[in-house]
């Protein structure tokens, strides 16, 4: 490996005006699950406010999640008839606005929005399971523009809906309808396409942006490959065939030092070392037990924290498991949301428990835990001293620091 190549998984959104305490997209400011707001020590979460959300006689399961910017806490919601984007006041929990679109159609595992909304400056972008993307004014919830992955870009609806959370990089909104117009960079102002790249049918994982070599790349999966594109032009730079017997991949591809770490629930985890600006085709390490189905891990120094119906601490170079816990009911779940600092990891389990652990490889230690919501696959948000979570019936704000 050439030493001069600087490989930084730093965030392209860092050029944007985002306050440190915001959580504006999938996996936070830098899309890496890291936040300076992860507590240094455990303090029992104290409920600040709790609000009832959409109810219907026969509720459908809710996915999606929460994003936060400034005073706005924006939450995806769903019932049998509609999809909603709700905006709450961060301090009081009062509803600032409510945006709704009709849904009511049948989809396997329910038709709730899957993607996490994205806030940038004065706009919030909201994607439904059907591939309808809405750009709204953050202050008012008023629609600025909207488009359809299917109608406008010929995307083929995946069996479990469009799941990838929109990505913001280089001042463009990156969306993944899949197919001929598979990867599209949009102008934030009006949704006009800036460049378009062809892919296979879209997969279920969210796209990422990484600086590799001297180039900012958009990296993500289509149906059968992992690929990288030049964010400036949409030019495809490399592609790697991906073996996934289950034919779906949810965990996002992670850049770990000088390698890509990829996971799928049938095969496990693989590490592909970079050769200048692209990964080599042979994995340098693999471990079949890193078979995360839904969750994306976080990286702290030379450790990857992830899980496969368990919580795992993994060596980032060899993919050997330092420790794993699938006995604890909080960890024996499809999905754990991980929030990392250099020292600690705050874990929100699908079973509604919040836990704090130190990021250490010798053993798992639980610094504190508390059940704060009912079971949910909605992704929560961390902002300042507060933790926001949504289950099937409520949105909660907890103070998690003394």
């Amino acid at each position: 490996m050439i030493r001069t190549i600087l490989l930084l998984a730093y965030l392209l959104t860092s050029q944007l005006n985002i306050m440190a305490a915001d959580w504006p997209q999938f996996r936070g400011i830098n899309r890496d699950g890291h936040s300076a707001d992860v507590p240094e020590k455990w303090s029992d979460p104290a409920l600040v406010w709790k609000k009832k959300i959409a109810q219907s006689i026969e509720p459908e399961k809710k996915y999606g999640g929460i994003v936060v910017q400034g005073k706005h806490v924006v939450v995806t919601d769903h019932d049998q008839a509609k999809d909603y984007l709700l905006c709450f006041d961060k301090a009081s929990g009062d509803v600032i606005w409510k945006y709704e679109v009709p849904n009511g159609k049948e989809m396997d595992f329910g038709a709730s929005p899957r993607a996490i909304p994205l806030i940038h400056d004065s706009k919030v972008f909201f994607l439904t399971a059907w591939g309808d993307l809405h750009a709204l004014e953050l202050s008012s919830g008023k629609k600025i523009w909207n488009l359809s992955y299917v109608e406008d870009f010929g995307g083929e609806l995946p069996d479990w809906g469009f799941c990838g959370s929109p990505l913001l990089v280089d001042g463009k909104l990156i969306i993944t309808p899949g197919g001929k117009e598979g990867l599209v960079a949009l102008d934030l102002a009006d949704g006009a396409d800036i460049w378009i790249a062809e892919t296979l049918k879209t997969n279920y994982s969210s796209f990422m942006a990484y600086k590799i070599g001297n180039m900012q790349q958009v990296v993500g999966y289509d149906d059968k490959t992992l690929r990288g594109w030049d964010v400036k032009t949409g030019k495809e730079l490399w592609k790697l065939p991906i073996h996934s017997p289950n034919q779906y991949i949810v965990p996002a591809p992670l850049l770990v030092g000088e390698s890509f770490f990829v996971q799928n629930d049938a095969d496990g985890g693989y590490l592909y070392a970079l050769d200048e600006d692209k990964p080599k085709s042979q994995a340098v390490a693999e471990n079949e037990y890193l078979n995360s189905e839904l969750m994306t891990g976080v990286i702290i120094e030379d450790m990857i924290f992830t899980g496969a119906w368990s919580l795992q601490c993994v060596d980032a170079k060899t993919l050997k498991i330092h420790w794993e816990d699938g006995e604890d009911k909080a960890f024996a779940m499809d999905h754990l949301a991980l929030f990392a600092s250099d020292k600690n990891i705050l874990i929100f389990s699908q079973n509604g428990e919040l836990l704090l652990i130190p990021a250490q490889k010798d053993k798992l230690e639980i610094l504190g835990r508390k059940k704060i919501s009912e079971e949910t696959q909605g992704l929560p948000a961390l902002s300042g001293d507060f933790f926001y979570v949504r289950d099937e019936e409520h949105v909660y704000c907890y103070r998690i620091k003394e």
Partner: protein, 474 residues
């Protein structure tokens, strides 16, 4: 099309009578998932206690069946594979895709291939133009009065119409497009069935085929495509009342010798497989959706017996019959999930008023991909995320309820009872062996490659079809 592999096997001059001890002729065997064996291995891994393993050309959710020394499995999109039970060698593989099952001359085949190629070429052109139209539409969305874009759109529309007029799909005759299917389901979730001499198999392309044990296709035909237009189907074919009964849309009774259609009865939508039971000596089908149909004549005795609407799709498994009672279950996350027990009536006359409900129980909301098991008066029901309910089979009282620990993935394979042990598997390749009873005791936890196919058991071995390999565990 794949070339068939001609086996070196000799056709047996005479077939010995079929001993059930040497065969597993249908999904879950003769006793609804119960295998009266005692020497089956309870501990294995990819490298431990594997008698043999064979790489397979494609995946499938169908279970294996076993006829004597031969194992029959499916492979996507519409193939049957015969493996030697002793060596694991692939003896033959045949496809019953549309083109394979239609009686075509070489000329016709050539013409179809050429037309298909030409059409594909034209469709690619249309695809490119449609992409351009979408671009123009996006411009017009923002600038509705852009005359240049308007003109381009008109021109593109004209071009597309012109090319489309050249696409000749008439010449392809009855050959339909491939139906859609769910990624998890594919086209081969239909387990084959055999009478010991012939193997019958369906595919989600709407085809049915009969093969002898040496891979000679005796007949094949194309019926309608599955009635769930996005997810395909999985109703396993059944031999009963002298007929081969299949379902893609209607229940259809076929002559097993010739494939000739003998009767057809409208069905309610269902992914599950019918149970065969007897009334006055006649074979009757009970689908887990609640269709009650005579196997010999297709007579519809009752429909909607379990209380679901005609298009409710959340019915996946095979009901079981024990001591004159049929047990069935269904469910989904946003509709009641039910266990129901029905009494088998004494006379055909009674059957006309449906089946008498003995008891029912509403569980937490979940899907029941796995079929149930009954043992020693206890009924076991397994949800898709490993919630296990144990009922008193007599009255439906819940004896025990727990979420099984340590499982990843989804409980797609059906449970089996092998000797004294309950086998519970997940599509993550895990199997737990559990000592059943009023208190459950997990004996072993085993890991293998992913699979959705329900394993079968024979002699002292377990036969398991993984996504990529076939394993014999002993």
């Amino acid at each position: 099309m794949k070339q068939l592999i001609v086996s070196g096997c000799l056709v047996l001059a005479f077939l010995s009578p079929v001993w059930s001890a040497e065969n597993v002729l249908k999904w879950r065997g003769e006793n609804g998932g119960k295998f009266d064996l005692s020497l089956v291995q309870t501990s294995w891994s990819k490298t431990k206690n594997i008698k043999w393993k064979t790489p397979l050309p494609g995946t499938s959710n169908a279970s294996p069946i076993i006829v004597g020394d031969k194992i029959f499995i499916c492979s996507e999109p519409a193939s049957i594979i015969c493996l030697d039970r002793n060596s694991g060698k692939i003896l033959w593989q045949k496809s019953h895709d549309y083109l394979d099952v239609m009686d075509l001359t070489n000329e016709q085949k050539k013409e179809i291939a050429e037309r298909a190629e030409q059409n594909q070429h034209l469709e690619t052109e249309v695809g490119e133009l449609e992409s351009k139209i979408r671009r123009v539409n996006r411009i017009l969305k923002r600038k509705p009065n852009d005359n240049e874009a308007k003109a381009e759109k008109l021109d593109l529309d004209k071009q597309i119409a012109e090319i489309k007029s050249k696409i000749n799909d008439q010449g392809l005759g009855d050959i339909p497009l491939k139906p859609k299917t769910h990624k998890v389901n594919g086209y081969t979730s239909y387990t084959p069935v055999s009478d010991g001499k012939t193997v019958f198999v369906c595919s989600g392309l709407g085809t049915v085929a009969a093969y002898d044990l040496d891979g000679q296709r005796l007949w094949a035909k194309k019926l309608s495509i599955p009635d769930h237009n996005n997810w395909g189907g999985s109703t396993t074919p059944v031999l009963a009342g002298g007929n081969l009964i299949v379902r893609f849309k209607d229940w259809v009774g076929l002559d097993p010798e010739t494939g000739q259609e003998k009767w057809r009865t409208p069905a309610h939508q269902c992914f599950g497989t019918p149970l065969v039971f007897q009334v006055e000596g006649k074979d009757i089908l009970f689908s887990p959706k609640g269709d009650v149909v005579g196997a010999a004549d297709g007579k519809l005795y009752a429909q909607g017996v379990v209380g679901l609407a005609e298009n409710a799709w959340w019915v996946f498994n095979l009901p079981i019959l024990e001591n004159g009672v049929i047990y069935t279950n269904y469910g989904v996350q946003n509709d009641p999930s039910m266990i129901k027990a029905f009494e088998v009536p004494k006379s055909l006359n009674d059957l006309k008023s449906g089946l008498k409900l003995k008891w029912e129980f509403e569980t937490e909301r979940m899907r029941f991909y796995s079929s149930m098991i009954m043992d020693d008066g206890l009924l076991y029901a397994l949800g898709h995320e490993f919630a296990l309910y144990v009922f008193d089979a007599d009255n439906g009282d819940v004896i025990h309820q727990q979420k099984l620990e340590g499982f990843k993935g989804t409980a797609y394979p059906s449970m089996s009872l092998v000797g004294d042990y309950l086998f519970v598997s997940s599509d993550a390749g895990q199997t737990q062996i559990i000592k059943p009873g009023k208190k459950l005791e997990v004996v072993t936890h085993n890991e293998l490659e992913p699979f959705r196919s329900t394993p079968v058991f024979l002699g002292n071995a377990q036969y398991l079809r993984g996504y990529e390999h076939f394993y014999v565990i002993e």
